[in-house]
């Protein structure tokens, strides 16, 4: 198997290297990919069409918003899949009603204090990343991951159950579902108002401002939806992986 | 000749027995009503077939296109002389076989009789479908349907033997039809741009070269393995595990005759007799058929099991039909087509008798039948008449077909074939006469049968007497089969 794998890898590598000679130079602005009207349009027209300076956010949430919706779905799928694969339902399912047994392991003072200080800041930063994704790097995914990471940090520093007090399993699912519903909701709203799916422009009937502003606002809403889902699922994946699906205690 | 009638009747003929399955299944709990349904369907079917007879004899064809299934291909029905001849044989014998099976199945108290009658009806639909097919595709469709519908009949006993027999049966039939006929058909379809409709004088000439023609001819000849041409014959003895009515109707009449019918159809309707004659391909086929005739007759001599002997005899007789067509002469073709009918009546009588003996005495082997004629005189007389027909001795219908076949060999000057035919007739006599002879003429102390042995179930006896009678009548009055065969020959040979 190893030799076979090696041969396959070498062949693939040589093949790819062959094609590489044909590539345009690295960083060449005139390469087809960079010169084609697609990327030109994104760079030059984004702001006028959506009033969003961050082209990546605009392309992500609007021009290719359909992709992004499914990107969120991928995350959601992973979350559900991991619950389906790993989660062991049983005595632990009433866990959320019980008082967490914190006495078992006393958290380290330094770690505890640091986390106390850090977690609110992390969460604030996460909110900032989500909200400011239009103007700076960031957006729903990054913000969501960071927000989820704050809960993971909490679970690591204290224990899983403390974190689960904030995000019990049913709330995780609800949050994740709500996130996708927010996203798809914008699409469906556009559908109901007579536009195509995810056509935020038509939402100007509901949102203040012109068509461009409607797009900008919808993107924010969509990003918030993404952030919901990502936060919830990241934590869900972690808590399943860390507790081997039993949701009792983490690592 | 030119004016063809478009009529739903051929479809109806096929549908009748298919629809009969419904009442048969529903009435499964009440045997009398169930058999009644079978008979009603049988008579309706026969009536419909007969109702078309005058039209066909007048030289008009009946056509109906049921369903355009592919852009240039449809499930279509067309009744012509050859098809009519075959349909007449099959539908009339269905009624008689039903009568016989009532006797046989009840006499032996067989299980799952409802299933038996249902699939019997389906098989008949498929047989008639083959008879009335207007193109190769429809023919193939019904051919496959027949193979599958008869499988439960062949394996009716559901024991080990039936299993083996059924397996051989399907293996041979499906392998050849999927492996040979299907590709050949698709090849023809491509070469002729979608034409598969049978035409009186064939349609292949001009579309393919000699090598292709030879390959196609062999594919199609062996592909219809139901015809039992060697080396694809061994399913037939294997299938003799079936209950006798099945053997009788399906393996003396429907299934094997469908095989030869398909071959005749392909020779005449696809290749065209003239095309075959031009390429001189008939000789190859006639040698194959001749070989089969001699070998199978020789094997039949060695068989002790009566039904197996009959089976090998059938293999030989089927090859007569193919040989007749392969002679590519008017007489040969006429004889060949007549032989479909004549052999059917003769052979079914023999099978009926074998079944009746088995039902009454439980004996399967010829060596155990010494002296049986005294106990079952009607049966054994019928058996004698049937043998006459199969051997081709006057007083039975088989004489006429053999007569024409012999004329055909003389006509082409293929004396080798003449010799083969005569030899095989001698062999036929050699393996049939001793049975009848020993059944009647033996010393009383040699007789293996007690006094209490009697004739089989009355229904069975009635059936076999009827067919024996029909065999005799066909000698005196070979109509309408002769006219049909002759008209068909005229169609194929354009003279």
């Amino acid at each position: 198997m190893k030799i076979l794998g090696f041969i396959a890898v070498i062949i693939t590598g040589i093949l790819l290297l062959q094609a590489e000679r044909d590539f345009p130079d690295w960083g060449d602005p005139a390469s087809p990919a960079n010169n084609y009207r697609l990327s030109q349009h994104y760079i030059t027209q984004t702001f006028t069409e959506t009033t969003v300076p961050n082209m990546v956010t605009a392309v992500l949430a609007d021009y290719r918003g359909y992709d992004t919706m499914f990107e969120t779905v991928v995350i959601f799928t992973a979350g559900i899949a991991i619950i389906g694969i790993l989660r062991v339902f049983g005595s632990s399912s009433q866990l959320e009603h019980k008082e967490p047994t914190l006495t078992a392991k006393k958290p380290d003072l330094i770690v505890d204090t640091t986390c106390r200080l850090l977690i609110p800041i992390i969460q604030l930063f996460a909110l900032y990343v989500v909200a400011h994704g239009h103007h700076s790097p960031g957006g729903g995914f990054q913000g969501g991951v960071i927000f989820g990471a704050s809960f993971i940090l909490l679970a690591l520093a204290r224990n899983l159950q403390t974190a689960q007090k904030w995000l019990p399993e049913s709330r995780v699912l609800t949050l994740a579902g709500a996130g996708i519903f927010i996203y798809a909701g914008f699409g469906v709203a556009a559908l109901v108002l007579g536009g195509d799916f995810l056509d935020y422009g038509i939402l100007t009937k509901l949102l203040p401002g012109g068509v461009e502003d409607a797009r900008s606002h919808s993107m924010l809403g969509v990003e918030i939806g993404v952030a919901f889902t990502v936060t919830a699922i990241m934590f869900s994946i972690y808590s399943n992986l860390a507790s081997n699906g039993k949701m009792k205690e983490g690592i | 000749m030119t004016s063809n009638i478009i009529s739903f009747t051929p479809v109806l003929v096929c549908l009748v027995s298919l629809l009969a399955v419904l009442p048969i299944v529903l009435l499964g709990k009440k045997p009398n009503l169930r058999e009644g349904a079978t008979f009603v369907a049988g008579f309706i079917k026969f009536g419909l077939v007969v109702s078309m007879l005058p039209t066909i004899l007048a030289g008009t064809k009946i056509e109906y296109t049921l369903w355009q299934i592919l852009p240039s291909l449809s499930i279509a029905f067309r009744v012509d002389e050859l098809g009519m001849l075959f349909a007449l044989v099959a539908s009339s014998l269905w009624i008689i076989t039903s009568l016989y099976s009532v006797g046989y199945m009840r006499g032996l108290k067989e299980h799952s009789q409802t299933r038996f009658y249902s699939f019997f009806a389906v098989s008949l639909s498929a047989t008639l479908g083959v008879a009335f097919s207007a193109n190769l595709f429809t023919l193939y469709l019904f051919y496959e349907m027949l193979s599958l519908a008869t499988y439960p009949l062949v394996t009716h006993h559901q024991d080990k033997e039936a299993r083996t027999g059924g397996r051989t049966y399907l293996t041979y039939l499906l392998t050849t039809s999927i492996g040979f006929v299907l590709p050949a058909m698709i090849f023809i379809f491509l070469k002729t741009d979608g034409g598969l409709d049978f035409v009186g004088g064939g349609f292949l000439s001009g579309h393919i070269g000699p090598t292709e023609a030879l390959v196609l001819l062999l594919l199609l000849t062996f592909g219809f393995a139901k015809a039992g041409l060697m080396p694809f014959h061994s399913w037939l003895p294997g299938a003799m595990v079936a209950p006798t009515p099945v053997s009788a109707l399906l393996h003396a009449v429907a299934v094997v005759k469908v095989g030869v019918f398909c071959i005749l159809r392909v020779y005449s309707g696809v290749f065209g007799i003239d095309f075959l004659a031009d390429l001189d391909l008939g000789v190859i086929i006639s040698w194959i058929a001749g070989f089969t005739i001699v070998v199978s007759s020789a094997i039949a001599l060695t068989q002790d099991n009566l039904k197996r002997r009959l089976a090998f005899s059938t293999i030989g007789q089927l090859s007569y039909i193919i040989l007749g067509m392969a002679l590519l002469t008017p007489y040969g073709a006429t004889g060949s087509m007549m032989h479909i009918a004549m052999h059917a009546f003769g052979k079914i009588t023999l099978f009926f008798c074998a079944g009746a003996i088995f039902e009454a005495t439980g004996k399967k082997y010829i060596s155990q039948m010494v002296g049986i004629g005294k106990r079952m005189p009607i049966t054994m007389t019928a058996f004698f008449i049937g043998s006459l027909s199969v051997i081709g001795i006057p007083l039975a219908g088989g004489f006429w077909s053999k007569f024409y076949l012999l004329l055909g060999t003389v006509e082409t000057g293929q004396y080798a074939m003449l010799i083969i035919l005569l030899t095989s007739s001698l062999l036929n006599a050699a393996y049939f006469f001793p049975i009848a002879f020993r059944a009647f003429f033996c010393k009383p102390e040699d007789s293996l049968f007690e006094d209490k042995v009697e004739e089989a179930h009355p229904c069975a006896v009635a059936a076999l007497s009827l067919t024996a009678l029909a065999t005799m009548v066909l000698f005196v009055y070979p109509e309408p089969f002769y006219s049909l065969a002759e008209a068909a020959t005229r169609q194929f040979m354009n003279f």
Partner: protein, 175 residues
């Protein structure tokens, strides 16, 4: 140095292939399931590197319009640039360079009435499209990794091992 600089025009593509092949080899021939998954992640990031390399343009900045250009349209956004993360700050220095260049060239202007007339030279911004695609790919990568790890844990629960050969042996002996 000249030589190295010419190499560097394709260097990224070479390295991406090397990394990708390392990952692929690990996926195919590592015995440990976690190792396979690490290999898988490396494999996927290599592809992301390839895409990002497509989108790179020499002397171009990050695909975010900077203050000067947006200015006039949305006053309230002013000063945002300063709050960016490290990477962005670094890039922000380049922005001014790019802006100067743009002023010099005065290249094609796209005239749109609303909200303001902007003059944007596409050559001054990295191609945003590959970035967008790769955001998706990263997310897919982490999702796959998560599912893979979950399966690994389930396998460990069932067979008590995360070595493929050991698990296969157990299956064989169970037969």
């Amino acid at each position: 140095m000249e030589f190295l600089e010419t190499i560097s025009t394709k260097f990224n593509y070479w390295i991406y292939i090397i990394i990708m092949m390392i990952g692929l080899y690990a996926m195919i021939s590592k015995n440990n399931l976690v190792k396979k998954l690490i290999g898988m992640s490396i494999f996927q990031t290599a592809i992301i590197l390839f895409y990002v390399s497509i989108g790179y343009k020499e002397n171009a900045t990050i695909p975010i319009l900077y203050h000067d250009q947006v200015h006039g349209a949305q006053h309230e956004e002013a000063g945002d640039q300063n709050e960016l993360s490290n990477a962005v700050e670094e890039a922000a220095k380049e922005i001014h360079v790019a802006a100067d260049e743009q002023a010099e060239h005065g290249l094609e202007a796209s005239h749109v009435d609303h909200p303001s007339s902007l003059e944007i030279n596409p050559d001054h911004f990295a191609n945003p499209l590959p970035h967008v695609l790769m955001l998706t790919a990263i997310v897919v990568g982490v999702a796959t990794l998560g599912v893979g790890l979950a399966i690994t844990q389930k396998l460990y629960g069932e067979f008590g091992s995360i070595e493929e050969s050991e698990i296969l042996e157990q299956i064989k002996s169970a037969k």
